[in-house]
């Protein structure tokens, strides 16, 4: 089928917007979130006053969410290259080689603002969106992860948000048949007014069959695929580009509704048509819907597009051009197809019960020109849309240093622990960081028959990849995946905190015996117009860059979510990091918790310096949040410890390994014992510190609790003699007793287990 666009200059334009100065014009500008300067630039680019539809298009494309206008200048500092990188940032997802021709396509994305308003659909459509980004490159999704941040458990909205976000993620992921295998959840007062829902998808793809969204070939047809367009989510992109005022909890009309069944059909159909070579360009319609996919595809190919909105399938009558262009109805894609392939494409899509309609054609005009009911509603040059998109170098101002110095804060923390009682504190920490079983039990973690370790294993997610594309010498090849960030460290120090997010992910991968390959990120920050938030953001990028360079992990994809702020209160900086790594043999992966009594060893830096700044203990004790120091990092020590773990596990010595994180050594050891109903006997000796408490409750970097297979201890200790920056110290055991005992303190195991299983807010 051919589509011949009418001679463009015979199409009348609709009326331009009314520029008469006054409240009406001001309202229009405000609604579209364009500054006076930006509006002037629009007129420059067009050479005239825009139509309403064009104003909407610029508003969406130049929104923070779509254009990254506040963040672009900083993001270019991230390290994005490496020998295993096949596709870096800029495409729908990043791709990294894992073995032979087998590659992983992965990315993380946020859906924060919609999830606060309508948590079920917000979370569900977040999952849907990130899945599409991965499969429209031709990758088959094999794992979903999610990182969630909610306000305090006692906040009135929290139980409602938790219940519905989890259900939304579960219903969508389970229906489409992708296992939800890992992630992270935390409750902090910072998120009382703004929850965070960051969804990550990992897919597998053959290196030579990676597909990109380019609208090439003049005369090729543009095809619309998927669900009909309705009024959902109009201006969803601009909602995500603005802060909330408290009454916004009721603005439900801007939330998109997802249909995972249609997405499953879309997934199979997409992989099918790509496999058969029927499509030249493919782009998912995500934020800013048809508008962004049209401009992105045209932009990447350097061509133009002509679209006829009269052809767009609609599910509601009388939609205007504006609405059609900005709708964020879900499960839709745009394809560019050679006319000769159209009949076969229709046949394949019919098998998958998907409607497809020709809605346009690729032109050589370098412009996106859109017709609706006899008018040329949009006529915008493509390159200036991206090249002249606002790029802000926003004002930055460093926050004042934390109020109390490290050593001083540590001292007051010890005093507070003694007053509160160490046993009581352990129970508080176990509750805060305890089992999230009631949540992940709602996620299908086993579909796909690849899951070796998922959330219940308490460590990173591990999947066994059986693929004919991989090196045949690696039949037990695995991928390890994590998604995490410690917001408390970030609140204290936006550079070091961001570095810690990268480090934590890499440590979790090392604790599974794996080697990190690449990272994705979801940079969640507050209002960029606040110079201190902007400074946090810039420092966050620096922290990630530093850690990625030190650990040799490139960032291959990512997402920025700004304006996470309510009533003037921004969230703590939360640069969420998603990381994938490779395990050569999943049979050798250590567990995160032993299945029976074992001796426990601590692998740690020779310089072992626990800190209470940003610690879970400080949070539990109600100590000031911006006080003290986050754990310091010795990069050489971190690298050495990770390499050591990989070597031990590769040699078959490592039975159990777990990175020491939130809550410090005691909490880590207690969780390892309690989860399978065992007791603990922990004695840090000198490592406990002169006060006898710092080592147990303080937090550190570069430390792991490990246990060896029987018969392997001597070999491990022997190998540890060659370490320069690290030491391996026996610190006790997971026992068969009914007690959790550390130093001079103890608790009944039953009490510890009870606290551990009471971690979730109940409605």
């Amino acid at each position: 089928m051919q589509m011949t666009p009418p001679v463009i200059n015979t199409l009348p334009r609709p009326a331009a917007i009314d520029e008469t100065p006054g409240p009406a014009f001001d309202q229009l500008q405000k609604k579209h979130k364009l500054t006076t300067t930006e509006y002037a630039r629009v007129k420059d680019i067009l050479g005239r006053v825009p139509t309403l539809a064009e104003l909407g298009v610029f508003s969406a494309m130049w929104s923070e969410h779509c254009s990254y206008k506040s963040s672009r200048v900083h993001l270019k500092r991230l390290p994005t290259e490496g020998p295993a990188v096949v596709v870096g940032p800029g495409e729908n997802a990043g791709v990294v080689r894992v073995s032979g021709k087998l590659c992983l396509a992965f990315k993380m994305e946020s859906h924060n603002h919609p999830s606060y308003i309508e948590p079920y659909q917000g979370a569900a459509t977040g999952v849907g969106g990130i899945l599409r980004d991965v499969f429209c490159m031709g990758a088959r999704p094999i794992a979903n992860l999610n990182a969630l941040r909610f306000g305090l458990r006692s906040h009135e909205r929290t139980p409602f948000l938790v219940e519905h976000v989890v259900k939304g993620i579960g219903d969508y992921g389970n229906c489409i048949g992708v296992p939800t295998v890992g992630g992270n959840i935390s409750f902090d007062e910072s998120y009382n007014g703004n929850c965070l829902v960051n969804a990550m998808t990992v897919g597998v793809i053959h290196e030579d069959h990676i597909f990109k969204g380019y609208a090439t070939g003049q005369g090729n047809i543009v095809v619309y695929l998927g669900s009909a367009t309705g009024r959902d989510g109009i201006h969803g992109a601009s909602m995500a580009s603005g802060s909330f005022a408290s009454q916004d909890a009721n603005s439900r009309s801007t939330v998109q509704v997802g249909d995972p069944f249609t997405e499953k059909l879309l997934l199979e159909a997409t992989l099918d048509v790509l496999d058969k070579g029927l499509v030249i360009g493919l782009q998912d319609m995500g934020a800013a819907g048809l508008t962004s996919s049209a401009f992105e595809m045209a932009g990447r190919a350097g061509n133009g597009l002509y679209l006829d909105l009269d052809q767009v399938p609609v599910r509601t009558t009388a939609m205007s051009a504006y609405e059609l262009l900005l709708s964020e109805s879900q499960e839709r894609m745009l394809m560019v197809v050679e006319p000769a392939k159209w009949p076969e494409l229709q046949r394949v899509l019919a098998k998958w019960q998907l409607a497809c309609t020709v809605i346009g054609v690729v032109t050589d005009t370098g412009r996106v020109q859109i017709h609706h009911q006899g008018h040329l509603e949009v006529d915008v040059p493509v390159d200036p849309m991206t090249e002249l998109a606002p790029k802000y170098e926003r004002l930055m101002r460093a926050r004042p240093a934390p109020s109390i110095s490290g050593p001083s804060f540590n001292q007051s923390a010890i005093g507070a622990i003694q007053a509160h009682g160490p046993a009581a504190l352990l129970l508080d920490l176990l509750q805060d960081t305890g089992d999230k079983l009631p949540l992940y039990r709602q996620y299908d973690r086993h579909i796909g028959t690849k899951t070796v370790h998922a959330s219940e294993s308490q460590g990173a997610a591990v999947l066994w990849l059986r693929s004919e594309w991989a090196d045949p010498g690696e039949p037990y090849l695995g991928v390890v995946a994590t998604a995490t960030c410690n917001e408390r460290y970030n609140r204290l120090d936006a550079t070091l905190g961001a570095a810690h997010a990268v480090l934590k992910s890499a440590r979790m991968i090392a604790a599974s015996g794996g080697h990190p390959l690449a990272a994705t990120d979801c940079l969640n920050y507050g209002n960029p117009e606040d110079p201190e938030v902007m400074d946090d953001f810039s420092r966050g990028v620096d922290g990630i860059s530093l850690a990625c360079r030190e650990l040799d992990v490139p960032v291959v994809s990512g997402n920025v979510s700004l304006y996470n702020e309510t009533d003037g209160q921004s969230i703590a900086p939360t640069p969420m990091i998603g990381m994938v790594g490779k395990v050569k043999d999943v049979r050798l992966c250590p567990l995160a918790a032993p299945t029976g009594p074992v001796e426990l060893f601590l692998l740690h830096g020779v310089k072992f310096s626990p800190e209470f700044g940003g610690s879970l203990a400080a949070k539990a004790l109600g100590l000031p949040l911006r006080a003290g120091r986050a754990p310091q990092v010795d990069w050489a020590q971190e690298r050495e410890s990770m390499a050591f773990l990989r070597a031990l596990s590769g040699a078959g010595h490592l039975a159990v390994a777990r990175d020491v994180g939130d809550g410090g050594v005691l909490v880590c050891a207690a969780k390892m014992a309690i989860v399978h109903g065992h007791g603990l006997a922990l004695d840090l000796g000198e490592l406990a510190g002169t006060d006898g408490l710092s080592g147990y409750f303080g937090e550190v970097s570069g430390s792991y609790l490990v246990a060896f297979h029987s018969g392997s201890t001597a070999a491990a200790l022997n190998a540890a003699n060659d370490l320069h920056y690290c030491a391996l110290t026996r610190v006790g055991a997971v026992t068969g007793s009914d007690e959790v005992q550390w130093g001079q303190w103890s608790l009944p195991l039953a009490a510890a287990r009870h606290a551990f299983s009471s971690s979730l807010p109940l409605s």
Partner: protein, 247 residues
Amino acid sequence: MSVPTAASLTPKFSPSGKLRIGLVQFPGSNCDQDCFDVMARHFGVKVAPVWHTQTELPALDAVILPGGFSYGDYLRSGALAAHSPIMIAVKAFVAKGGAVLGICNGFQILTESHLLPGALLRNSNRQFICEYVHLATASGQSVYHQALAGKISRLPIAHGEGRFYIDVDGLKRLQDQGQIALRYASPTGLTGPEFNPNGAVDQIAGIVSANGRVLGLMPHPERATDTLLGGSTDGLAVLEAFLSSFT
């Protein structure tokens, strides 16, 4: 049709893949690939995909109805799939004594098609549940009963609508005719509501047809064939029994 006896239990599978097994794919089925993979890897059997719009089955020894969300579970789980053109052929196949294995959504499709009695309703806790359960084999004469006699199987479930329901008379018939195959149980094989994740009547996780040739079960045997993946290989015995369930 007589129920196969112990004597005829010699496995009919071989690495040369002589068995003709078909698997019906509906829009939204998503455990199909796992079934193809497991049957190939563990039994050397190449399962043939059958598309839901086909009106005839090829010549087959047995049929698998896989897990998933056929038609998005719209209307009711398995209800729309039960009305697919292919199900007419599957019903005829069963009427002639054909062997069918319905896993999870497949079990739902079997009850909606009235190839098995009862119905699968929403879990009593109203949530999707994914976890490992233990199953005790009930008493009966089918190949499944004999292959799994005295065995406590550890298999994963993953469903939102797995609560088996049947009325009082129907339940009595199932019990009297030995059609209950698997019940949710403790690790030592004790059955009771406290081990039942979804509120199913009489803790029923799986049943067979009156002739013993059709098994429907909510747990996923195809997910328990490798120690690496969840630590249980108890699914193999169920799949082996399936491959022996026809002559």
